[in-house]
Symmetry: C2
């Protein structure tokens, strides 16, 4: 007779996922994993440092929070706060143009090397996404890093968008979903051109702070981000400004964006990727 | 006529390395890189989060500091401080046994899953590497993560070993070498079984703090580690104990090792990989 072992702690990645409430039954030649629904187990909270590791979060079937504080995710948060109907993330500029051609009412927005592509309505500055500019409109968005990370997560069932602007809201929403779905949560740093970005790491720490300690089991990378945020919090804007991406943006004249994107918890919207469109979570589930 | 452009800032990785004082001469079909020796340029200080990215540091021709605070690098630092003639890092247990067979005077040391392999003289606890046990002896060391990371760096010209125990010393030594050689410096986190480890990240921050700010150009990852260390410093030991690796070691009964390895700057030795042996830097150059 097989004996089901209930682990007294959340299963780690080596067991094939970060779902909680899982029973591992050794049966000689394979591992059977199934849910027990044990509500006492904490939700695993993981962090991936670079965008390409979004796929690891997808494999774990985690609720995914894509973080690109400068500026893509801040832009999406602002657009939805100001009443955009939805944001459609696309990878390439031709893709954005084709979609616009088919749907003349849509707005094209985004950047390459920080600058608005030719013929686009808006750039990637969240400050452009005012109610006047976006209310009721569908926004097609293509950026160098953020929309690519979002695209890598498309196979994930629950993909949310996080920024300093909505840190607390996205933490609360992701935990609610993860508890209901009995999965873990992965914070994924979009970074800049596939590389690690300081501001996204700090933003992950800011978001992680929004989880009740007794409800989540932190991996080492989340602990590192929390400590980094702790070290930065007293002069957050100044620290973000020291990062390579902020320095790049400031050289291009986007210092107001850096300042705006450093504001914490000014918005309550939680953008959610649903059938390749990003919509506010509260109106979609 | 070609015009040599002297960059007013340290060259980034995309220019093929993190060497400083480099002149880039565009010549139509290839890039010529050569040193100008401009002493005003800062030394690039980089960080790699996981062991396999040691190869990136090697490609950049950086001075490499391998960090495995729990416990391999702390063990090496302690062994050399207590007079071991050298430490020979090897990847596998059979390799260690074969080397011992050929050299009966050598000491075998190391761990698998934290525990001393059968027949080995010592484990991987730095506390075992007392003067009585290692003075004048050659130590063959094989560990799960640390010696593998060291092995990946073998093609690097300058490979140093860093821990909390010798943080300041290894910072000073690596800067001295990098300035002389006109290269960058890479801190590489060995982690645990190829994964990110909290204590190595904090150790990188502790080491980074040992560099004079005016002499180094930090990448985003080093800034993150500095902030993490800043957030952790007031209760460093306690924070390290929260990491997954420390928790594992404490369960195995190695809580004294975790405490010892958390001590900062108690040793001045800088272990240096020279022809596949690790020796104290000061006696080797």
């Amino acid at each position: 007779m097989e004996v089901g072992l209930i682990f007294p702690f959340p299963l780690k990645r080596s067991y094939g996922g970060s779902q909680k409430g899982i029973t591992y039954v050794p049966n000689g030649d394979s591992q059977n994993l199934f849910h027990t629904g044990d509500a006492d187990l904490k939700t695993p909270l993981n962090l991936e440092f670079i965008a390409k590791d979004t796929v690891k979060a997808v494999e774990r079937r985690d609720v995914i929070v894509i973080i690109d504080a400068l500026r893509c995710c801040s832009t999406i948060v602002t657009a939805l706060t100001n009443g955009a109907a939805c944001v459609i993330p696309v990878i390439t500029i031709p893709e954005a143009r084709m979609l616009k051609k088919k749907n003349p009412g849509f707005i094209t927005a985004g950047e390459r090397k920080g600058i608005k592509p030719k013929g686009f309505t808006l750039g990637n500055s969240p400050l452009e996404f005012s109610s006047e500019n976006v209310k009721g409109r569908v926004v097609i968005l293509t950026t160098t890093s953020g929309t690519k990370a979002i695209s890598l997560s498309k196979k994930g069932e629950w993909v949310l968008i996080g920024a300093f602007l909505n840190a607390k809201a996205v933490a609360e929403a992701s935990l609610k979903i993860a508890e209901k779905e009995e999965t873990g949560i992965s914070l994924v740093l979009a970074g800049k051109e596939g590389q690690f970005s300081l501001e996204d790491f700090l933003c992950a720490g800011a978001i992680a702070e929004g989880f009740p300690a007794e409800k989540v089991e932190l991996d080492d990378a989340v602990r590192a981000a929390l400590l980094g945020f702790e070290g930065a919090r007293r002069s957050l804007k100044k620290v973000i400004q020291q990062g390579s991406h902020a320095q790049y943006l400031e050289k291009k004249g986007f210092e107001n964006d850096v300042e705006f994107c450093s504001k914490m918890n000014i918005f309550a919207v939680v953008p959610f990727l649903k059938e390749e469109k990003i919509v506010p979570l509260e109106t979609s589930v």
